[in-house]
């Protein structure tokens, strides 16, 4: 009796939950790197603004590297660099570190722009009213600057969310990697790829529309 073995099996409901889990991983690594990266980037932006000379000599060229080298190269480079200096990081941790630094480099520029968007007279006025430097930052610069840069920050955050797809190169099973696994098994590339695309789109499109609407309203 001959038994036939099928290597491929068709797309099933279980696969949807597999994709869903992978989608959560995409969301998780994006959320972490955007959050940490934004704080770090805000700090870098402040440093670039306050320390003009040191920023121009050291910080800016350093951040520039993250903006001028493809993310995929950064990921592979760091993943292979970590063991050299004795760190044992898995794909998720390496991806997180690189994505966070990448986010912070992008946010730094945006944040500096935000601080610069607050007029000098306003800063002088707040200090003249007796506010300390920190109070000036907290109550004057932050509310005005944050509003000015909010749309570009959303742009950066959505960009990072989409770029997190590249962590699949390291073998982290996020959405795109999961889709590859499924495609190999089910041989139904078009369907799976469209599901994955629809997920990213459903996440990114409403947010970008909302931020565009806010931008329009705030600019009036």
């Amino acid at each position: 009796m001959e038994q036939s073995v099928t290597v491929f099996s068709s797309f099933s409901v279980q696969d949807l939950s597999f994709l869903g889990e992978a989608a959560l991983r995409t969301l998780w690594i994006s959320f972490l790197s955007i959050t940490i990266g934004s704080f770090l980037g805000g700090f870098f932006g402040w440093a670039l603004y306050e320390m003009k000379i040191w920023g121009a000599i050291f910080l800016n060229p350093l951040l520039d590297v993250f903006r001028s080298v493809p993310l995929i190269v950064q990921l592979v480079l760091f993943y292979n660099f970590a063991p050299i200096v004795g760190l044992s990081l898995d794909a998720f941790e390496s991806g997180l570190v690189v994505l966070t630094l990448y986010t912070s480099a992008l946010v730094a520029n945006v944040a500096r722009g935000g601080i610069e968007a607050v007029g000098k007279p306003m800063r002088i006025a707040s200090r003249s009213l007796g506010m300390s430097y920190l109070q000036d930052m907290r109550y004057v610069v932050f509310p005005i600057g944050a509003r000015a840069i909010f749309p570009s920050w959303v742009g950066v955050a959505l960009g990072v969310m989409k770029d997190s797809a590249l962590v699949s190169v390291l073998g982290y099973v996020e959405l795109v990697k999961a889709s590859q696994v499924l495609i190999t098994r089910t041989q139904e590339p078009l369907l799976i790829i469209l599901v994955v695309g629809a997920f990213y789109f459903a996440l990114s499109y409403p947010v970008s529309r909302y931020s565009a609407k806010l931008e329009k309203r705030w600019s009036q």
Binding site: P70, I72, V73, N80, K162, A165, S204, Y205
Partner: protein
């Protein structure tokens, strides 16, 4: 401190190949950019003046390009269309993916550029007896170019960086070539470090040239 022995010799031996691959990168990026500019203009004009299906197709293109990962777009042109029996070579996949993405982003940029020009100018041009083509090419587009020049430069840098995704669809541009050599020699870190430097230099040259070009052509 390091227990790892760096071996740079194989990297330097294949440096000519890497530099040649970086020319491939520039070539595919430039072509994608050129096509992206042309399609981007068409998309922008269709969204501003088109109606019905033309408007919707252009809008769908722009939103899809901007709200899904570039990697997804490449995969779509790769094995997504492969499912329909349409097979492209890696070069065409990269070119199509990059063009699709860039056209979407540029379309949105150009639309902003067109909207920044008062509509009275178009009407004035038409009243002076220019036909629509003349009004666009002589009055509107020269002004739009000025407005979108810097976003366009940034976009080109993005295209160069994004072409690194070619590695994942088997195209041997700079990153793909690096991956090829790295997996041949297992000197992954060394190869990608050199590639990162090449990308950095490439981006700096592009930005420098674009500044030179701008100071030459956009003098007021």
């Amino acid at each position: 401190m390091f227990e790892y022995n760096f071996h740079w010799r194989p990297v330097f031996r294949s440096l000519p190949d890497l530099l040649e691959a970086s020319l491939t990168t520039l070539q595919v990026a430039s072509l994608a950019m050129l096509l992206g500019i042309i399609i981007g203009f068409i998309l922008a004009v269709s969204r501003l003046r088109g109606s019905g299906s033309i408007y919707w197709i252009a809008t769908a293109w722009v939103e899809l390009a901007r709200n899904t990962p570039a990697l997804f777009q490449l995969f779509f042109f790769g094995f997504g269309l492969g499912a329909l029996g349409i097979h492209f070579s890696p070069y065409v996949i990269v070119l199509a993916g990059l063009t699709f993405n860039t056209a979407g982003y540029l379309g949105e940029n150009f639309r902003g550029g067109f909207e920044a020009i008062p509509s009275t100018q178009l009407r004035a041009a038409r009243s002076l007896g220019m036909n629509s083509w003349q009004a666009y090419t002589r009055i509107l587009i020269p002004q739009v170019m000025r407005i979108v020049y810097y976003p366009m430069t940034n976009q080109f840098v993005w295209v160069v960086l994004m072409s690194s995704l070619g590695m994942l669809v088997g195209y041997r541009e700079l990153t793909g070539e690096t991956q090829f050599f790295a997996s041949k020699t297992y000197r992954i870190f060394e190869y990608f470090a050199v590639t990162a430097v090449i990308y950095y230099v490439m981006v700096k040259i592009i930005l420098g040239l674009s500044k030179l070009f701008a100071s030459r052509f956009f003098r007021y």
